[in-house]
C-alpha cells in the first residue's frame, strides 16, 4: 500500500468515527412555552434516526432547528462539511447555508406541495437542484430526471406532467426524487407518509428503505407512526413535552421500552 492510500484509509477511518451531525443541548422556546428543550444527539453517515412522539411534543420544532429553518434559542448544531471540517450551522454565512440546503441536504415535507413546484413539470422539479448548481445541458438534465423518475417508480412518460396531476403517493415519491438528485448526505423527513393510505404508505416505505440503503444516506425522520420508525430507522429518540424521554436502538426501544411514556406509546399501537 502506498503512503497516500494508507493516509486516505486513515482519514476514512477517522471520519467514520466522527459524527455527520452533532446536536448539543438545543433549546427552542416560544416565549414562556417550550418548543424543545436540551436535546443532544449525534448522527453518523448512513444512519437513520427516527424522532417519535405525539403531536405537540416538539418533534417538528427540533427538525426545523436542525435544518436551519428555525434558529434555536440556545445550544449548538454542528455539521461535518464535505471537506471534513465540523462547522457550527448557525455560524455559517447564509449563502453557505443555502448551498448546503440544496446540495448536501434534502428536506422531504409532509405535504408534497410544500416541497415541490406545483406549476412546473415533474422533470423540471427533479432538475431544479441540478440547474441551481450550474448544470446547463438540457439533454443530460432530462436523462437524469428520467432515471430518477424510474427509481422512484413514476412512469417516465409522465416527465412533462405537472405534479398537480399526480396522486398523493406519486407527489411524495417525486418530492423524494427531487431531493435525492444531488446525492445529499443528510435528508430530513417530516412525516413523509402522513396522509397516505396504508398500501401507498407501505410502498413508499419500501422504496425509501431501498434508497436509503443503496445511497448510504443519513436520515432524520420525524414521525408519530412507530411502524414507520420500526421499518426505517436504526435508532430512535422519543420526545414528550419538548424533552427527550428515551433514546436507543430502535429494536431495543420498541421491544423493551424503559421510560413510562415510551411504554405507553408502544402499548397504544393498535393490533389488527
Amino acid at each position: 500500500m502506498t503512503v497516500a492510500a494508507a493516509k486516505i484509509e486513515t482519514l476514512d477511518r477517522e471520519s467514520a468515527a466522527l459524527p455527520l451531525l452533532s446536536v448539543r443541548s438545543v433549546t427552542r422556546t416560544y416565549g414562556a412555552r417550550i418548543g424543545c428543550a436540551d436535546v443532544s444527539f449525534d448522527i453518523w453517515p448512513g444512519e437513520v434516526l427516527a424522532v417519535v412522539g405525539e403531536s405537540g411534543s416538539g418533534k417538528t420544532t427540533l427538525l426545523n432547528c436542525i435544518s436551519t429553518r428555525l434558529e434555536p434559542t440556545s445550544g449548538t448544531i454542528s455539521y461535518r462539511m464535505r471537506d471534513g471540517e465540523m462547522r457550527d450551522l448557525y455560524q455559517l454565512e447564509e449563502a453557505e447555508r443555502r448551498v448546503l440546503l440544496r446540495t448536501d441536504w434534502g428536506f422531504v415535507h409532509q405535504n408534497p406541495a410544500d416541497g415541490l413546484r406545483m406549476t412546473v413539470s415533474a422533470g423540471a422539479n427533479v432538475g431544479e437542484r441540478l440547474m441551481a448548481v450550474g448544470q446547463r445541458h438540457y439533454g443530460r438534465l432530462r436523462s437524469t430526471a428520467t432515471d430518477w423518475l424510474g427509481r422512484v417508480e413514476i412512469d417516465t412518460e409522465r416527465i412533462d406532467d405537472q405534479p398537480r396531476a399526480f396522486s398523493g403517493g406519486m407527489r411524495q415519491r417525486l418530492q423524494i426524487a427531487r431531493n435525492l438528485v444531488t446525492a445529499p448526505r443528510l435528508v430530513f423527513m417530516d412525516e413523509p407518509t402522513g396522509g397516505l393510505d396504508v398500501s401507498v404508505q407501505a410502498r413508499l416505505l419500501d422504496l425509501l428503505r431501498g434508497l436509503v440503503n443503496d445511497l448510504g444516506l443519513a436520515v432524520i425522520i420525524v414521525t408519530h407512526d412507530l411502524a414507520v420508525a420500526r421499518l426505517l430507522s436504526h435508532r430512535m429518540l422519543v420526545m414528550k413535552d419538548g424533552r427527550v424521554v428515551e433514546h436507543g436502538l430502535t429494536d431495543r426501544l420498541l421491544d423493551d421500552p424503559q421510560a413510562p411514556y415510551t411504554q405507553l406509546l408502544v402499548s397504544s399501537i393498535l393490533q389488527v
Partner: protein, 293 residues
Amino acid sequence: MTAHARTSSYNFAYLDEQTKRMIRRAILKAIAIPGYQVPFASREMPMPYGWGTGGVQVTAAILGPKDVLKVIDQGADDTTNAVSIRKFFQRVAGVETTTRTADATIIQTRHRIPEAPLKQGQVLVYQVPIPEPLRFLEPRETETRKMHALEEYGLMHVKLYEDIARNGHIATTYAYPVKVEGRYVMDPSPTPKFDNPKMHMSEALQLFGAGREKRIYALPPHTEVVSLDFEDHPFEVQRFDKPCALCGAERVYLDEVVLDDRGGNMFVCSDTDHCESRRAEGLRGALSGEVAP
C-alpha cells in the same frame, strides 16, 4: 425637428427638482451596479400605470433643454402611447422632438430597440412593466431579493427547461432573461428577444424605469449582456421568411399587418423610422407600390 413653447406653469420636464435629484441618484446607483434593480420613490404621473410612468420619470430626470427626444411604442413613432408621451414633453419641457433615431439624444421606448445602431452619447429609456425576472417563478419579494444577492439563478433555467419540455425549443420570445456582466440576471422589459443582442456592448446608455414597481436599473455603455440558454439549446433570435413588404429590409424585426378578411397579410418593419428612411433612399419592398401613400 421642431422646438416647442413650454407651458410655464409646470417646472421644466414636469417633475420638481427634488424629485429629479432623487431619481438621478437612483440612476447613478443603477449605472454603478449594472443590472441591479434600485428602488426609488416613484411618483404619480399624469397617465395610468402601464403607459410608461417609469420611463417618463427617468426621461424627465435626465432631460435637458438641449436634448432631442424620440419616443417609440412597438418600434413606431406614430402610435398613441408614443404620440402622447412626445406631446407631454413638448408641453412641459419645450424640447425638440424627432422621429429620426440618428438625431435623437434621448429615445424613450416601449418594446423595441431601434434597428439603426445607437451611438455614444445617446440614451435609451425603457418603460418596464415588471422588472423582476424571477417574479413569475417566485412570488415573494423577500425571496427574490435574496436570490439576487446570493446569485441563485437556477430557477431561471427551470423556466427555460419548461419551455423546451413543452414546445421542443425555448419559446420565450419577449422579456427573455439576460445575465449582465456575469452577475445580475435582468429582465430586458418586454422587448422581443430579437433585440437582446443589441443590448450587448451597446455604445448607448440604457436606462430602465418601472413606475408601478418603483425600480430603476441600467446598462452602462459597453456592458456585457448574455441571454440565458442551455448548452444544447443555444439562444437564437426570431427569423423572418420574407423581407419587409415596404422597404425590402432583411434581418429586421417585422410586424404582421392584416390586409383583408381572406387571410391576406403583409410583414413590415416594426421600426417605422428605419422603414421610412430606407424608402426615402429609394429602396422598395414587394408591396410598396400598392400600399405606399
